[in-house]
């Protein structure tokens, strides 16, 4: 598979027999987590309203980019599946050797205003790949759906 150009941030979906994968690309590691987080909610739901929701600060553990990515997406997925919150305006504020910090806005899911597009049940390590490329940063992630 040819690597997508990573000068601009974005993602594309990969079809997989039982599940769903995505390739995320971004110019920097910080932007990679931001793009992956936004992509997750783009896949999950539609109709997220504009305007600021309550702010939350998230702190994620992870000793390498792959572990940080999985734990980051797991945290966001928990906000959705466990708390019924949609997340937007994701800003990764800090990455250290073993930690990622981010500021996000959350909106309670409202079935009258939002639609569920796809159910994602878990973020997996299967064929997980996260790292720098010649054009920026790229990640390959498979979700259990």
């Amino acid at each position: 598979m040819k690597a997508p150009a990573a000068r601009k941030a974005g993602y594309r979906l990969i079809d997989h027999t039982a599940d769903l994968g995505m390739v995320v690309f971004a110019p920097t590691e910080k932007a990679l987590y931001e793009t992956a987080g936004a992509a997750l909610f783009d896949i999950l739901a539609e109709g997220i309203p504009p305007g600021p929701g309550p702010a939350e600060t998230l702190h994620i553990r992870g000793e390498d980019p792959a572990e940080r990515m999985v734990n980051w997406l797991r945290e966001l997925l928990y906000l959705w599946a466990g708390k019924g919150l949609l997340v937007r305006d994701i800003r990764v504020t800090r990455i250290t050797e073993d930690r990622l910090s981010a500021a996000v806005r959350v909106h309670p899911y409202d079935p009258k205003r939002h639609g569920i597009k796809t159910e994602i049940k878990a973020v997996t390590y299967h064929r997980l790949r996260v790292g720098p490329t010649s054009k920026g940063w790229e990640a390959f992630i498979i979700f259990d759906v």
Partner: protein
């Protein structure tokens, strides 16, 4: 890397132990299963499992093998109780996802005119779909009782009868459950989802017994031709996922200190006798109990709907549970290794227990004939009732297949269904269907799955379970 397989006999294939494999892999399959090129990845997973410490005899795969996280779906592996490992990837995210089959005293003709009303009422009464919540609101204290007692909790609260417990694997309760090991997140997710079907491939199905292959066993299971049946397929909902995720995270962090290399991070594991290994085993039991309580509540709700819609007394409905089987679980069981009985930790991931006649774990009603095994197919074709065998004890740690397995991705199924009405197609085949999720029906259409009859033919031919009856769907509710 291409995995080499050698044929052992008509239904068995060996992956020789090479490299880091401690035991060979053995796959139950016919030619059609192994000839597909996409099978290399699950075969690699069989080989990966064979490299884990303490694995006994062989890393096994059933004919519904397909790619899974860490272990393949359809994977069975037993580990030495002292020296072996336990792995959340060997159980799966949906801990104790399973199936229960109930029969009624009614024939197809008795319900034909009310089938539509029945499926509508089941759809309205049984909460289904993504993130659905039920009518049972637990507080933390009551939730812990559910996690400790499983189906017993449900029956004690009026959701069913004592007889249901005897007809559930493990009596619907793993005794080693310790709710204090669950994270606040897992507990939070369990509060509102008891008594809900869920989404994806979970379903409830009103069906009928189409063919009986083993009349004596069918009689012992209470089956007769033309009989109206109910199948429920559900699991431990968000709570089970959270338990799996929590322990995968914990074991991944610890994996750097393991004395061997993990071939796949999704195979994160811990020694059964380590603190983390024991914690997972006892936390997993909580999720398993939650799933059994969930299916027990769902069954009770369905039984009430049948009585109400058909306007019939419990006695005339005569609905009773044939059996409830788990197909995602790790258990401490005794198996004969090198001629001696030994405690082992059997992982069944997308595989069903298949205990033979005479096994002490079976309830009185089935001790003489063997354990009922329920193999659901897709919503358009058939499901099977099988019975456990001695050969399964000898070859597969008392295990057999669990279902059909997907053959099309969800996206491919959506594409294939474009311009078609799956609902109409099923109705033309005499099957009513109700569903919740927007893409569910297309994603779950019959062509998206392998033909379950081919899977069942392999386990029957190999002798690790025997065909008892084939059921066909009349009405299906999907999440």
């Amino acid at each position: 890397m291409e995995i080499k397989v050698e044929r052992i006999d008509r239904y068995r294939w060996r992956i020789p132990a090479t490299g880091k494999m401690r035991v060979p892999g053995i796959v139950y399959a016919d030619d059609s299963v192994l000839s597909r090129k996409e099978q290399n990845e699950p075969l690699q997973q069989v080989a990966n499992v064979a490299a884990l410490p303490g694995i006994l005899k062989a890393s096994l795969a059933m004919p519904d093998i397909h790619w899974g996280y860490g272990f393949p779906i359809g994977g069975v592996a037993a580990f030495d109780w002292e020296e072996g490992i336990i792995s959340p990837g060997g159980v799966g995210y949906d801990i104790n996802c399973g199936v229960r089959l109930a029969v009624t005293g009614l024939s197809r003709n008795d319900v034909a005119s009310k089938l539509e009303a029945l499926v509508n009422a089941l759809y309205q009464t049984v909460p289904s779909g993504v993130g659905s919540t039920g009518n049972i609101r637990l507080d933390r204290k009551e939730e812990k009782k559910v996690l400790r007692r499983g189906s017993r909790w449900a029956v004690s609260r009026g959701y069913g009868e004592d007889a249901d417990l005897a007809h559930t694997e493990e009596g619907g309760c793993l005794e080693n459950a310790d709710p204090d090991l669950l994270s606040p997140r897992a507990l939070e997710r369990g509060l509102k989802q008891l008594g809900t079907l869920g989404s994806g491939n979970h379903f409830l199905e009103v069906g009928t017994v189409e063919t009986i292959f083993e009349p004596a066993v069918a009689r012992a299971f209470g089956l007769f031709e033309g009989q109206v049946t109910l199948i429920l397929h559900s699991g431990s909902r968000g709570l089970g996922y959270q338990v799996c995720d929590d322990f995968l995270g914990r074991m991944t962090r610890l994996s750097k200190s393991l004395p061997f290399d993990l071939p796949d991070r999704q195979l994160a594991c811990a020694g059964i006798q380590t603190e983390t290994g024991r914690a997972y085993f006892n936390a997993m039991a909580c999720a398993a109990n939650y799933a059994w309580a969930n299916r027990q509540v769902l069954f009770h709700l369905c039984r009430e709907v049948f009585q109400r819609v058909l306007d019939i007394s419990p006695r005339d409905l005569a609905m009773h549970l044939v059996y409830d089987v788990s197909h995602n679980i790790a258990k401490k069981e005794t198996h004969v290794i090198d001629g001696k009985p030994r405690p082992v930790c059997v992982h069944r991931k997308g595989a069903t227990r298949s205990f033979p006649p005479g096994h002490p774990e079976l309830c009185e009603a089935y001790r003489l004939v063997g354990q009922p095994i329920l193999i659901p197919g897709d919503m358009g074709r058939a499901s099977y009732v099988l019975v456990g065998t001695q050969k399964a004890m000898e070859e597969t740690f008392g295990s057999t297949c669990h279902g059909a397995g997907r053959v099309l991705s969800r996206k491919a199924a959506m594409k294939k269904s474009k311009g078609r009405s799956i609902q109409r197609e099923l109705e033309d085949r005499g099957i009513l269907v109700r569903w919740t999720g927007r893409g569910t029906l297309a994603e779950e259409m019959p062509e998206a799955y392998k033909d379950v009859s081919k899977v069942v033919d392999v386990v029957h031919g190999a002798g690790i379970s025997k065909k008892v009856a084939r059921l066909r769907p009349l009405a299906v509710v999907k999440g």
